[in-house]
Symmetry: D2
Subunit: 384 residues, 4 copies
């Protein structure tokens, strides 16, 4: 990253987190509605802890840790960085207050500003990583507060403005000839370790949809009895349908409205369906006589003319489980825990969503969640 770009990225990223939290009250910012989600306040603090622990402590001589009791509160899952407060209990941290967490952010921002001019390549790389890390948490902050609000019978709106209506492009099948394609991150820009090494992959010819599945199409699936027909579902998916009584997407209300960042709104039949699990995505594809693309097909096709809604509407479940690329090596040290240890039991999503910070995603980007996860901005692009 050029000398000029890093301070700008850092400033922009740090400011964006605060902007995202701005509509939230102190009480909102503390909500944790399930073990998989975290409070907004925790996201604000954890991303700050990441800079403090991985950048400032090792790279800024004389840096004073803001509060020595806090790292155990805001370490997420780094075994090599000491003990951690239990994840399901993040919502119990009324102290430190949101104001104190904001002071923590200022303390760390000031130290980062001091470090930047003198940072060596290793430190600069870690600062850049910290920014992309924080961008990931920006999307999570939104998905998590949305889930928390969905648990409140008052159904508060994160953003009281009216949602934009969406005119999707026409659905067409884009042709890909297959063959050997290079997959993974290329060039000099930032990428996470899980996008490497770039490597050739052999694909059979395939077709992929020009756009995402819409709410209207998904409503047809429901109306056709999709949630009652076991033969459409993977076995684990059908078990989830039965055990948890799934009848529609997580945020589709019984009264026909759809809950989202703008509160409960009339269902927009043209908008991409989101907040689907992998199981629901697969069942829909089966019903539609199609399938999900692999992550390699997705990446190969993402440059095709007509490939719309690539990264601005919803992450797109792929038929690929999250696994290391050939020759993948996690980084040494704590940063090595960032991605590699999660490479089992999850499905890859590609693309990006309306909640993804601008500039964060790229065609080689690999998002991942367990197949039952329903609270993300996750949708479906069909292949065949």
């Amino acid at each position: 990253m050029t000398l000029d770009a890093l301070p700008s990225l850092l400033l922009r990223t740090r400011a964006h987190s605060l902007a995202l939290a701005a509509p939230l009250s102190d009480e909102d910012a503390q909500l944790q509605s399930m073990p998989d989600a975290s409070p907004a306040k925790w996201h604000l603090a954890h991303t700050t802890w990441f800079f403090e622990t991985l950048v400032l402590v090792p790279h800024l001589p004389g840096y004073r840790v803001f509060d020595e009791r806090w790292p155990r509160l805001f370490n997420s899952y780094y075994e090599s960085l000491g003990p951690r407060h239990a994840r399901p209990q993040r919502g119990l941290l009324s102290r430190p207050s949101l104001a104190e967490v904001k002071a923590y952010r200022q303390h760390v921002d000031a130290a980062l500003a001091m470090l930047l001019p003198q940072a060596d390549d290793a430190a600069r790389h870690l600062i850049e990583l910290g920014c992309h890390h924080e961008q990931q948490h920006q999307e999570l902050l939104l998905t998590d507060i949305l889930h928390a609000f969905s648990c409140n019978p008052l159904l508060p709106a994160y953003d009281a403005s009216a949602p934009a209506s969406i005119s999707p492009p026409e659905q067409t099948w884009l042709q890909h000839p297959g063959g050997i394609v290079d997959i993974g991150h290329a060039g000099h820009g930032f990428a996470f370790d899980n996008e490497s090494p770039r490597h050739p992959t052999l694909l059979a010819p395939f077709e992929i949809s020009s756009r995402l599945v819409t709410c209207g199409e998904y409503a047809d699936f429901i109306a056709a009895g999709g949630y009652q027909e076991p033969l459409l579902w993977l076995s684990d998916g059908w078990a989830a349908v039965q055990a948890q009584g799934w009848q529609r997407p997580l945020y589709w209300l019984e009264d026909g409205r759809v809950f989202g960042l703008h509160g409960a709104q009339a269902m927009d039949a043209q908008a991409p369906v989101t907040q689907l699990s992998f199981y629901e995505a697969c069942a829909f594809a089966e019903w539609a006589g199609a399938r999900l693309p692999t992550e390699f097909e997705w990446e190969a096709a993402s440059g095709l003319p007509g490939f719309a809604q690539a990264a601005d509407q919803a992450w797109q479940w792929t038929r690929s489980s999250y696994a290391p690329y050939p020759g993948f090596k996690p980084a040494a040290g704590a940063v090595g825990e960032y991605n590699g240890k999660f490479m089992v039991g999850q499905q890859v999503l590609r693309g990006g969503s309306g909640a993804t910070p601008p500039g964060h995603a790229r065609p080689s980007y690999r998002n991942f969640f367990p197949p039952a996860a329903r609270w993300q901005f996750s949708g479906v692009r069909l292949a065949r």
Copy 2:
């Protein structure tokens, strides 16, 4: 209740709840650390809902419900008063805010003030009930915030002042001759329905301790291996010890300090041991060669000279399960759900604690909790 006393009780009670919540931040007031506990904000709102629903709506002509969406949020367990927000999710109600709940309190207080001069006997009785109901929640507010704070590794102090040290009276065995004693509420003052009807009970002669078991005595039990000796425990109690790894009272820290409303403090060997389960109380008594009194013995003995620490330190587990008195009839209507439906699976506690509002308890008062409950101000008085 005399004409003068009711307004005073109402004012005092309503003010005391706010005073108890005063040290809490908006974030603190929203904490729910387990399904059995409720947020302070919820206690403030629920007690207000109780007045609104049971007093104002039926008895104040023209009363306007503060917000029609709120009763489902703040109804606790009254099946006859409509659907309820799930108890384990009370901590997810960031909206309404604490400020809005305080406005709700003002709205209801104003309406109660308008009603009071014109209230008939039925309404006056319900207002009095609402006050005693709110007093119960005042103690719960403290026990619940204490539990929530105990889940925070920073161990915040609800009250940063130093705790008072306690000089317990000498331990002696008070003699009771037994015989037929009248049990239950007498006279004209307020009592809950579960304290009636007053009825004669036949007791064998017994001895009861002049004071509660101290922390020092309980520490001896631990040091003697009390938590490792199954033969001291009831079968369910031993199962709890093993399944949950009990090794000391809930708030005794590994470092020897004891957590409480004043934060983590050195253990005071003279202070009554509190936050014990019934199982621990029974095991201690067994180890000490004694037993717990029945609730009838407790009530009969409470008037004996020398009966100290009756209602100011800790509720005292009794060997009596919570059951209806002979001839008990719950009130008609929603108020009938107040007590009667909980009369199984719980043990009676008698007395009162330092967290009990002044004037709330009386010798016939029956508190009750499941035998595994550990987060109350509950202690032990021995009998034999």
Copy 3:
């Protein structure tokens, strides 16, 4: 017990267990359908282990333990007698085989026969206790195999003969004047420690039904919406109704038949309703405008003229929780674990059932089960 009676009791008891197991295949005898139930084979072995461990080892010089690896398999819950195979895994003991367990029984029977003529009072008392213990397990053997069979869609009949039809006595309310009555075991016959000490209790006047509630009466409760009306239920009971989807007694089939030892049979409206939980018993009583008797009322009333179906149809839930009588002291040693440690969280049942071995029950007998237990021969006698 007289010199002549003990051998006869022992022989009769030991033979009766085998007779009860006679209709069972090796596979049947191994069934364990839930943690609370045990396989028939285990009952046969555990009762034998009881004699071996508590009688033969300490009292018959030179006694050789049948297999040193078995005590850990067949010790039920005696902490003082060493480690135990986990209760929920009793059904996994295909070895030893049923044939080997029968050989174990013969080995122990032979040793008991050798001991009997030379047994001192202590040994004789323990043999008598072992017989009454085995009788308890005889009823459990039946309740447990019935539950296991109820889990098989083929609904096997334990006894393929036709059930006897029952002509219940007329329902009348028997009057009891109350007053001081003596409760607990009297006289010289055998009784369990939990029936002592005999002690005076003060009762208010009450009425009690001459007979048990019938299936027809219970069907009226169901038809009247009893399982849909929360106000009829204790809070814990209603939670069970909802969490487990209760709609009728455990063995009432959807097709209107009732499952029992004789297989699925047409419902007999005249027969006492059985296999009810305490919660269902209480809800029925509430609906019927009555209540359950306390165990003291039951015992006091059991000698009234007209008190029918006392001990031959179904155990009768009482409103009393299982607690120690005043002055209760468990026996020293392992036998002390027999009853006392279960004295919390359970309700007392009085009477006896068609599955109770002849001569086992008596008016002072205290059976006990948790309030949610539904698989026993448990029914309802109303009081008011």
Copy 4:
């Protein structure tokens, strides 16, 4: 399959199941030690039901179903074939007896013998499928009874003969040059649908071990603290280690012996380590500075000279999740539920074990289990 081979395969397969069950008592044959395992009796009946339902009913005119109540008992997971007895309750089916199940087998065998000479291609294909299906259950019968026996403190031996000692080949790294290789079933022999379509795959050059990891090598991993070092483990794996207290492979006893079909035996340091989960396999590989092969690498390497212990010792976990091959289409009808619906959340194992029936496995064979599964004959072959 040639006209001659099918009857022979059928006879051999049906006889082998009975031979495997021969050492089991009626009681043994009913054991179900966990929801994922099934009783031996159930395996015998289910494989028979498979022939009855998929072959005889549609293809043998006049075939009489053995017992119309049984299909619901022995249907495993075929949604299209009607309701099923709940999987975790298979061990509760004492009826039908083992003898009745054997009679069921004879009835179906006789009908198959009648059908064989007149069977058309479709029927012949289904009979062949039924044989391979039954062979799969033969291995499961052994893994499941082994697990059940491991839950019995007596640790019964399925086979009381002494285990063969194993002299493993020398460990060397076999080189594979990578490139485009064809993966999947080729030729005319039987294969499951999940091995198709055969398709080209591009591999990078890699090395793979000549043999499996031995118990001695795995013991070194344990001695080096492998089960205490989180950084060696996948995140889900470490969670399993902690939640379930893993300290060694499932059947390694605390006393240093290893439990297996021959009972508890001294650990053979030369023998391949088995009964490992995928998590343990990955952690070992990480510790050893290697990795697991993908299923494509495994298949490509399986023909290399020196590739030992391919299919006779233990299935080998691969780094590949179980997913459809490009162009995979499940068969129409109930048979389509055989494989496809399980293609999520599982890892592929390749090779075969000592419990795999002769002739069952092949290089393209894809076995699959969830990553936490520990009760299979599953081991480790390293790659790098």
